[in-house]
Structures are given as C-alpha cells and as structure tokens.
C-alpha cells in the first residue's frame, strides 16, 4: 500500500482537528513546565494551514508539505513554529513532485524532518523535547520495515514507540527549550512538544487505517 497526496491532505486536516480538540490539554502541559501556549500556538498554525490547504488540494505531496511548513513558520512562532515548520518543509523537499509515496519514502521524509528539527533546535535525544517522541518513532518504523513489515503494521509499531517516547519524557530533566529553566523541577512532567508529535503520529496512522 502506498500513501497518496489525498492521504496527506486528510492527515493535515486530521492534525488540525486534533490540535484544536487537544488545545487545552497541550496548553496545560505547557503551563507546568513552560509558558502555557503550546496548544494555542499549534492551533493558530494549523488553523492557518487549513485555510491554505485548498490552494494545494490537487498538488503533489511536496507542495502540500512545503505549504504546511511555510505556513507554520509564518504563523506559529515560539519554539514549535520553526521546528515543526522546518520538519514539514524538509519532508516536502524529499517528496518533491511525487503524488504517491512508499513506506520507504515515508521513512526518508521523516528522517529529513527530524534532521531539520535537530539542525534548528540542536537537541539530542534525552533532553525532554519532541525529538524524544519522533526519534524512537522513526527507529521503530525502520526496524519494522527491516523485519519485512508492511506499511500499516510498521506504522502501528512506530506510533506505539512514539507514545513510549512521549511518556519517557516525564522522568527526564529538560536541558533544551523553556522547560530547561526549571532544572530539577522539570522532572515529573510530560513534554508538550513530544505530546503534539505523538498526536501527529496517531493522526497519520488513523488516515492510513481508514477504509
């Protein structure tokens, strides 16, 4: 099974809906160790994305993802704007003018996205950021593919690993982003960015799972 441009559009719409729905939850997480705006930031960004989406409705995957990326950069602000913006941009650059992608294309796109996040934010794994959810997710996706799994089961394992990665941020001491200012007091709280990354992973799976 391949991922189509239509899937990508549905994925983006689903992320926008999830972010709106989970806006207060994300903001609450950000209140504990940040500045109480992560939900509002992403909601503002993906609401803007939704208004842009019709302009790329019948375009290739690269155009769709790049539009998402530039829109996020231009509307989110904060740390998550440049990070997610760069991630979508880089993924879009990898996909170029394709209208379909294979499981391996997805791996390549996600790896480029993560590299973009790391290049901008300079966070390693274990610093209590979105990287700690996305990294293990990609690892699991690659491992499942190496073990010969098809897209859907591989994606299921990737989402599960993303969730584990997200939950693993709770006991971590933050050393990047705003939560790092808390020192030891950052321990015991789940990272908001890791949580929004997991929500995106879940949205991707849901779109592929749809009949």
């Amino acid at each position: 099974m391949n991922i189509t441009a239509e899937h990508v559009i549905k994925f983006v719409e689903r992320v926008a809906a999830t972010v709106k729905e989970q806006r207060d939850y994300l903001t609450d997480l950000d209140s504990a160790i940040g500045d109480a705006d992560h939900g509002a930031n992403l909601d503002r960004g993906f609401s803007a994305v939704l208004t842009k989406l019709p302009t790329v409705a019948d375009k290739d995957i690269g155009s769709i993802l790049k539009t998402v990326g530039t829109t996020l950069v231009s509307t989110v602000g904060g740390a998550s704007g440049p990070l997610y913006g760069t991630a979508y941009l880089r993924a879009g650059m990898v996909m170029g003018d394709r209208f379909e992608m294979s499981a391996d294309d997805l791996v390549a796109a996600l790896e480029a996205a993560l590299e973009g996040i790391i290049a901008r934010g300079k966070a390693q794994r274990g610093e209590k950021t979105m990287v700690d959810a996305i990294g293990p997710g990609i690892d699991a996706l690659k491992a499942a593919r190496a073990a010969g799994e098809e897209l859907l089961p591989a994606l299921r394992q990737a989402v599960a690993a993303t969730e584990v990665g997200m939950l693993a941020t709770t006991p971590m001491l933050a050393t990047k982003g705003r939560a790092s200012y808390l020192g030891d007091r950052s321990i015991g709280h789940q990272d908001p960015g890791a949580t929004s990354a997991f929500l995106m992973a879940k949205a991707m799976l849901a779109v592929i799972e749809e009949p």
Partner: protein
C-alpha cells in the same frame, strides 16, 4: 479571567491599534505581518535596531520604538516569539543602508525565529547582525543547555545601543556595545502571584497565599524555588546576592540599577525595593550611578519584581544619558 480585553484572539491587535492611535508622532504600526516602526524612519546611514518577542511584556518592546532607541519592534502572540515574516519585514523597513541589528532575548523560540529572519534578510542583501541577551542568573548556565533567559538587561541594552545607533555608529560598533552591555549585566526576578495568559484563561501557576516564587521568568515560568513570603529587605537580598556574585560586581563599581515591576506591582513597592537595593549595594561599596524604576519588562498582570544591574563605564554612562524619545522612555527631548 479578569482582563480588560475583547477576546483572547484580539488582544495584541487591539492593543496595537491603541498604540498607533496614541502615538502617531512617534510610531507607525503595520499589520500582517505585525510590526511597529519609528514614524521618522528609515534613517539613511543609520544602523536599524530592531527587537521583538512575545506580547505581554509591555512596554517592551513596542514602547521603546522611537528616537534614540529601537527602529522597530515585532510583537508576537502573548508569550510567543514572533515569526520570521515579521522580523524580515521590519528589517527591510528600517534598513537605512548601514545594516540592521537584531536584539534577541535568549529563548529557543526567539532565537530560532530571529535566525530564520536573519538568513532571509541576508538573502535579500541586508547586512544583519544579532545579539542575544542572557542575563537571568536564576537559570543555571551550561554549554549543553538552552542557557540563560534574556530579561531586564534587554531594556537597558535597547536604550544604550539605540543611542549608539542614533549617533550613527557603524554596525560592528553597535554590535560590540550590545555585547558589552549584555556581558556586564545580570538580573533576577520573583513573583508574588501568577499571570494568566489570555488564551489559557487561568493562572499559569498556583501560588499559595503565603508563598512566592524566586527566580521566576517573564512568561510565568516557574523559578528557582518557592519559599515563604519574606520582607522587602530579605527579597532584595535574595535577588541581589546571586547577581552580585555571578559577574561578579566589586567594591568601587558604578552600576545602573533597574528595579522592574512585573505588571501588577504598584509603584510604591518598587521604590521601596529600590531603597533596599541601594542599602545592599552601598553596604558592598558599589555606587548606583544611574537608575530606572518602573514596570518596563512585564509579565501581564503578575505581581512581583526583578532587579537588574549593569556595570557602567564612561562609554555606557554617556549612551545611557543620551536623549531618548519613545512612548515609554523619554528624556532629554
């Protein structure tokens, strides 16, 4: 949520409209992307000095746009770094051919967004330099972390650097002075109450009636520690000692002392804190050569204060004393 607003979504836009209506002689406001520029800019041959950051810290930065201080300010959503589009548009708007300095507070979001804007500005052929303020001693510094937050020094730096740019100092010189102010300044803050972010609708943190947060950030980020409420003298000591030891400041030093209110602090308490600060500094042989007392870098309606000290030499003192004419700071003009 008790606020004089129309809706959380419109806070920044409505306030910008108010600023534009209030000070047409000093500033002009552009929307989408949002930024504030000097009414009389761009000035040919002058380095453009711009800053920006999340809203909710007023008068910083928009209130500092004007003669002898900032050429432009980019207001983000409340407590959220502005986006590169704003900074790029502002950079272009203030470019008088002598380059542009970006004054960035050290927050991951601000740094990344300004970085992207600087890249875009450079791509359009504008010479852009940046300085990142990171004066908050409440945060442990290390090569491996996000480092210290930029807080009170930012206000003083914008004034001092703005004076240098007004005097037509070249970009490298303006940047040198900016780095010098940052290197010679340290701050620490505290909160008696939390702020409430409009779109969150409830206080960012809960602080019991008899407790305060020492080392708090300007976005309601929790601080170093939570302790029982103490006297103004003790609070001044808790804020000043880490500042003095960090640089360190030494007997014989002249300093610019800045007692800042967090937004919900009455002025009587700021003068009272200033009095305690002067006693501590005098006790250590440090002279307060200049001072600034008021709510200039705030955290919405948070009650509390911060103390900033900048070591002065003749160069910085002269630039501090130079005339300034902005909505929030004005003297000599």
């Amino acid at each position: 949520m008790k606020k004089l607003i129309n809706s959380p979504e419109n806070v920044v836009k409505d306030a910008l409209d108010g600023m534009a209506a209030a000070h047409p002689d000093l500033i002009k406001v552009s929307y989408d992307p949002d930024y504030i520029v000097r009414a009389d800019g761009p000035i040919s041959g002058k380095v453009g000095v711009i800053s920006g950051g999340g809203s909710g810290h007023e008068p910083m930065h928009g209130g500092f746009v004007g003669r002898g201080m900032l050429d432009a300010a980019c207001p983000g959503a409340v407590f959220t770094s502005p986006v590169p589009d704003q900074m790029l548009a502002a950079t272009k708007a203030v470019n008088g051919g002598a380059g542009v300095l970006h004054i960035v507070k050290n927050y991951t979001g601000d740094v990344m967004n300004f970085e992207m804007a600087a890249e875009l500005g450079a791509a359009e052929g504008i010479e852009v330099a940046s300085v990142v303020t990171n004066d908050d001693v409440a945060v442990q510094d290390s090569l491996y972390t996000a480092g210290r937050r930029g807080v009170g020094v930012t206000v003083l730096l914008e004034k001092i650097v703005g004076a240098a740019a007004e005097a037509k100092a070249p970009l490298a010189e303006v940047k040198r002075i900016a780095e010098k102010v940052n290197a010679h300044g340290r701050s620490m803050g505290m909160a008696l109450t939390s702020c409430t972010v409009p779109h969150a609708g409830k206080p960012t943190f809960e602080l019991p009636e008899d407790e305060m947060e020492i080392g708090v950030g300007i976005h309601g980020e929790p601080g170093r520690r939570r302790v029982k409420i103490a006297s103004a003298a003790e609070i001044a000591e808790m804020l000043t000692t880490p500042i003095l030891e960090d640089l360190p400041f030494s007997p014989g030093d002249n300093v610019l002392a800045f007692v800042n209110g967090m937004g919900g602090t009455p002025q009587i308490e700021l003068y009272l804190m200033y009095n305690e600060l002067v006693k501590i500094l005098n006790g250590r042989g440090i002279t307060v050569a200049r001072n600034l007392i008021g709510s200039y870098i705030t955290s919405l309606e948070m009650a509390g204060c911060s103390i900033t000290l900048v070591k002065l030499d003749d160069e910085l003192t002269g630039l501090w004393d130079a005339p300034v004419l902005t909505p929030a700071l004005r003297w000599g003009l």
